[in-house]
């Protein structure tokens, strides 16, 4: 299998008012294309820091993190930005939809960032909303949607520009069991395919069944991959 993500001896240290906190302490991890990998572990073990580094929005202090064979950390900031816009999709715990934009406009943002014209971007956004079962709600604003529907809009936003890696931060923690299950089914069925990898950070044991592999983290280390 081809590695979508390959982390080797990743170290990230935060300096919090003179006190050094080692968030990642020599992480070795690889995630393959077509794989749904979950990162689990107690709070403060470094899960969020690891997906931030993997997604290219945080620089590691040492070690290597390659995405599809490219060392993102070594890229110029402009190239890194373009790489992120083109190849990575995000799903956040708090959905992070823009409240003043309707569903289609929210979903179209990654396309606009990638230079697609507004009308075309919104047309494609509605198409993806149909895939996630919200084709009839494309005009709705986030405040008019339930938590599960908002997360489905967020998933559509993460998918619309056909990224090769989708990072999800606690995608089900703000949802009830049924909605969480539906969101995971959607992610597995719609988002995952052989040219794409999914990394999900979660505490929610109810969704572990959806993972291809689970990396258990503790104290900045990956202690077990099952």
């Amino acid at each position: 299998m081809v590695a979508a993500v390959r982390c080797e001896k990743l170290v990230k240290i935060y300096d919090t008012g003179g006190q050094k906190v080692i968030a990642l302490n020599g992480i070795d991890l690889s995630i393959n294309l077509g794989e749904l990998m979950m990162l689990v572990g107690p709070s403060g073990c470094g899960k969020t820091t690891l997906i931030s580094v993997i997604a290219g929005i945080l620089d590691q202090d040492s070690g290597v993190c390659e995405l599809f064979g490219e060392n993102v950390n070594a890229m110029r900031s402009k190239d890194k930005l373009q790489f992120r816009a083109r190849h990575i999709g995000f799903v956040f715990q708090a959905f992070n939809l823009l409240p003043s934009l309707n569903a289609a406009e929210n979903v179209s943002i990654p396309l606009l960032i990638n230079g697609v014209k507004r009308a075309e971007a919104e047309r494609l956004a509605i198409k993806v909303l149909e895939q996630v079962g919200l084709g009839d709600r494309w005009k709705s604003f986030p405040s008019q949607l339930s938590g599960g529907q908002q997360q489905r809009v967020a998933i559509a936003r993460a998918l619309v520009h056909s990224p090769r890696l989708i990072v999800c931060d606690e995608p089900t923690s703000a949802l009830d069991h049924v909605s969480g299950h539906n969101v995971m089914t959607l992610l597995k069925e719609v988002a995952l395919h052989q040219d794409r990898a999914l990394v999900i950070v979660t505490h929610d044991a109810r969704i572990f069944e959806f993972a291809d592999r689970i990396a258990q983290m503790d104290d900045g280390h990956v202690v077990k991959v099952t």
Partner: protein
């Protein structure tokens, strides 16, 4: 991304209206107070600008401003007339005299005596009667505001407005009878006293006995004559002060600027208005960015460049700035329009529009700059914090 910036701005109507209102208020106080200041300052020289015909004003060299009368001997008129380049020179009396009103009260008036023959220096606009009516015996022309307010006859019923003086009514000036033969429109003066026009010889009879009663010599330059050259020649030959109309306006304006508390008082008020307006608008706009910082973080995480975010914030600032500015100056203009018949001084020249425009732009730019710095420094990883 521009439409996203605009939707972010207008999405929350309350906040959007708050920012626009803050800038409207800033723009309003940046224009309204200076407009009143300029209006007051314009009144200091309104008599000069109302007297349109002469090119040059000749007076005692110690005169500091229009109401600082240091009378000359009548013979000075003939000396000025004898200078080459002078087309004509006419006498003018200007002095403060007390008028006795019908109710027995006294009112200080600005009495202007015009050359008996030509009546040069008369009021700019006649509302009733003709300026030539001043040739009738005991005749005076009074300004419309004075006729309605300070020189008005006692009200017919208590608490109602005075009855305006009209043509044919009489008043008493220094024990002399004066009959109103015309009503004129003049620009209000700094002290807002009623203005009474009469002939030079009659004004002298109203004025208390003095050896010198000639206030100004009004001069028209011969065609093609250089005004600066002529004023220099008049000063040289007579030892008197001679100013072109604009120079005399400037002399008066600077006297009031230098010797009264008006500039400092209004300056403080304008400065305070600017600071308060800037603080309100800047703070509101900055708060707006702070409240949307997570949204900017999401855009940044998804790959939006700092340059695009900067453009979005500038667009938001320009939009709220333009609307706030337009509404602020609009309200100021409405205020001026609503007060046009009142005693309030108000002048709203284009330079003031420019000044407030620069002021509001400055506020928006500073607020946008602080917001932009915040967004540029924003760590996109905040989006992973719940």
């Amino acid at each position: 991304m521009n439409h996203i910036a605009l939707k972010m701005l207008m999405g929350d109507t309350g906040k959007y209206v708050g920012i626009v209102m803050g800038l409207t208020f800033a723009s309003l106080i940046m224009t309204q107070q200076p407009a009143i200041f300029l209006g007051i300052m314009a009144r200091t020289y309104s008599f000069i600008s109302d007297t349109g015909l002469p090119d040059i004003w000749v007076m005692d060299e110690k005169v500091q401003f229009i109401d600082d009368i240091k009378p000359l001997q009548d013979t000075e008129l003939y000396r000025v007339r004898g200078i080459s380049g002078v087309a004509w020179a006419m006498p003018m009396y200007k002095g403060l005299l007390k008028a006795r009103l019908a109710n027995g009260m006294f009112q200080t008036c600005n009495v202007v005596g015009l050359d008996d023959t030509t009546l040069i220096g008369g009021p700019p606009i006649m509302l009733e009667g003709k300026i030539s009516d001043l040739r009738r015996s005991d005749s005076v022309i009074i300004d419309v505001d004075g006729a309605k307010e300070k020189l008005g006859k006692p009200a017919l019923t208590p608490n109602s407005t005075p009855v305006p003086l009209k043509i044919g009514d009489s008043l008493e000036l220094n024990d002399h009878r004066a009959i109103v033969v015309g009503i004129a429109k003049v620009t209000r003066t700094f002290q807002s006293q009623p203005v009474i026009y009469t002939t030079y010889s009659r004004a002298k009879s109203y004025a208390p006995r003095e050896r010198k009663l000639l206030s100004f010599v009004l001069v028209k330059a011969a065609q093609g004559q250089n005004l600066n050259e002529l004023t220099r020649r008049i000063r040289e030959k007579t030892g008197l002060a001679a100013y072109t109309r604009n120079e005399f306006i400037e002399l008066t304006y600077h006297y009031f600027m230098k010797n009264t508390g008006i500039p400092i008082n209004f300056g403080m008020s304008v400065l305070l208005g600017f600071i308060v307006g800037a603080a309100i608008a800047g703070q509101t706009f900055y708060n707006f960015t702070l409240e949307n910082i997570r949204q900017f973080g999401v855009l940044k995480a998804m790959g939006t460049s700092n340059w695009t975010l900067l453009r979005m914030i500038l667009l938001q600032a320009v939009l709220v700035g333009s609307i706030g500015y337009g509404m602020g100056v609009g309200l100021t203009a409405l205020f001026g329009y609503a007060m046009r018949h009142s005693i309030l001084a108000f002048k709203f020249p284009w330079q003031l529009l420019l000044f407030s425009g620069v002021g509001v732009s400055l506020i928006c730019m500073i607020a946008a700059l602080i917001s932009i710095i915040k967004v540029i420094r924003l760590e996109p990883a905040i989006v992973f914090k719940s």
